[in-house]
């Protein structure tokens, strides 16, 4: 799965434009990630101009993220 550091996100939707599984989308006034759809491809990380997305390969549940994972 990925985490988005919302502090720094410019809501450009670059991530959702390249996401092959529709796992990320603008909801309200911020980007939301749907980890059940995520396939850990990392394309969103590479497309993000603000560099606020981090990938945690193989993790499906937010509870399993390392304690220093940033949401912003």
């Amino acid at each position: 799965m990925i985490t988005i550091k919302h502090d720094g996100c410019i809501l450009c939707v670059g991530c959702s434009s390249v996401c092959p599984t529709n796992a990320i989308e603008v909801v309200g006034t911020r980007m939301e990630h749907f980890s059940d759809k995520c396939i850990d491809c990392g394309l969103c990380v590479r497309a993000c101009p603000a560099n606020v997305i981090q990938m945690y390969k193989g993790i499906k549940d937010a509870k399993a993220l390392p304690p220093d994972a940033e949401y912003g």
Binding site: E25, V26, R46, A50, N51
Partner: protein, 408 residues
């Protein structure tokens, strides 16, 4: 009159330039148009450089109000890796540097004045199909509240880059990393300019892209960069190698005598499509217009003019389909046919040019800049490559292999 089986004649998803121009024309012809836009405020946040040629505004006979643009520029200054500048100023190079947040809202207001209904903060979450499997509407949530259904025999996706509903309708709108540029941009002040948009090329400055300075009123300017999203110039979070446009933009600003002392008034950015349009724009009961259909110039990434044009083209066909009470793919196809025969041809030339330029080294790029002049630029941009290419090859025949793509 809307058929009693449907809430509206057409649902438009997205109130950007494409959706609003479509809606203005369709509503003006008497169609019952519903436009939904997921943003709280139309046009916000701004995600682009805000430049638009005068052409489309003139063609659509629009009288753009003063608050919707910042400046009218005369043309462009294109700067090569070695700093050589070519100025391109002609009657058809004049353009606006817009205030997108006002411009988009104004276009939406024009649609409202013609009778369209616009709803903001309203996000389509899924497409609806009738018992026969025919597309018939979308599920909408207003600001995250309980979703409700709206129905129409025609759904138009004018969603821009993300185009999630277009995907749900079966269109192949996912972008490949290779075919997008990732962009970062500041609005800065003060910047003295020559009333020209400025574009800076070079693999050191902006690999597979360019830095732009679009002047605005009161000594302000949009200073931005777009680079190929497949470039790996930086380290992204988590140690992944990837494109970091902000690093290069900050370097450019640091080296620029004026900008190094300027302030930033706004951080923004986005991604732009620089690839080919999607393989089909219409299906039964569905159309895709504007950036959602990747109708964007692959050289400069500009999409406002094309979106407005496609909106009008598609609306005329939709009006005809409404008269015939037939929204099948065949009836909607004339929009796609017209686009591909007109704007599509120019876009294909530009894509060819982009794919050649991205392989050219800075040294060769300098040679290209030294070989051509302001008279060659319009020819190159219009796809008449033979003359300029001959000039370039005369001084450096070894470039033949690199440039041969332009001659086929």
């Amino acid at each position: 009159m809307t058929s009693k089986n449907y809430d509206y004649d057409v649902i438009v998803i997205g109130a950007g330039p494409a959706g609003s121009c479509f809606s203005r024309i369709a509503a003006g012809a008497g169609l019952n148009v519903m436009v939904i836009d997921k943003r709280k405020e139309i046009g916000v946040p701004v995600r682009c450089g805000e430049a638009l040629g005068l052409g489309e505004i003139i063609k659509q006979d629009l009288d753009i109000p003063k608050h919707c643009y910042s400046l009218v520029v005369d043309g462009a200054k294109i700067v090569g890796p070695n700093g050589k500048a070519i100025k391109w100023v002609a009657e058809d190079t004049r353009g606006y540097v817009l205030e997108r947040k006002f411009f988009d809202k104004w276009l939406a207001e024009l649609a409202v004045e013609k009778g369209a209904t616009v709803k903001t903060y309203s996000r389509a979450t899924e497409v609806l199909k009738d018992e026969k499997g025919k597309l018939c509407g979308v599920k909408v949530t207003h600001g995250g509240r309980e979703p409700y259904d709206i129905t129409a025999p025609l759904i138009v996706s004018a969603e821009g880059m993300e185009s999630l509903m277009a995907r749900a309708m079966g269109f192949k709108t996912v972008h490949a990393l290779y075919d997008v540029d990732t962009c970062y941009e500041y609005e800065m002040k003060p910047y003295d300019h020559e009333n020209l948009i400025e574009l800076y090329f070079g693999n050191q400055i902006a690999p597979r892209g360019y830095v732009w300075i679009f002047p605005k009123a009161d000594k302000k300017a949009n200073v931005g960069i777009g680079i190929g999203a497949n470039i790996a110039n930086g380290e992204k979070r988590g140690g992944i190698k990837g494109a970091d446009p902000k690093i290069l933009l900050d370097e450019f600003i640091e080296k620029d005598k004026q900008l190094q002392n300027a302030s930033s008034l706004l951080d923004f950015g986005g991604v732009i499509s620089v690839g080919a349009p999607i393989n089909e724009f219409v299906k039964d009961n569905a159309m895709v217009i504007g950036t959602a259909a990747k109708q964007v110039d692959p050289i400069h990434g500009g999409g406002i003019g094309m979106a407005m044009e496609a909106g009008v083209m598609a609306a005329k066909v939709a009006i005809d389909a409404h008269k015939k009470k037939d929204f099948s793919k065949n009836v909607l196809y004339p929009y796609e046919k017209e686009w591909r025969a007109t704007t599509g041809v120019t876009a294909a030339h530009r894509l060819k040019l982009r794919k050649v330029l991205e392989k050219v080294s800075d040294d060769d790029f300098n040679h290209v800049f030294n070989s051509i002049n302001e008279k060659d630029l319009p020819e190159i941009m219009n796809g008449k490559f033979a003359g300029p290419v001959a000039k370039i090859l005369a001084g450096r025949p070894q470039l033949l292999a690199a440039l041969s793509g332009l001659l086929s």
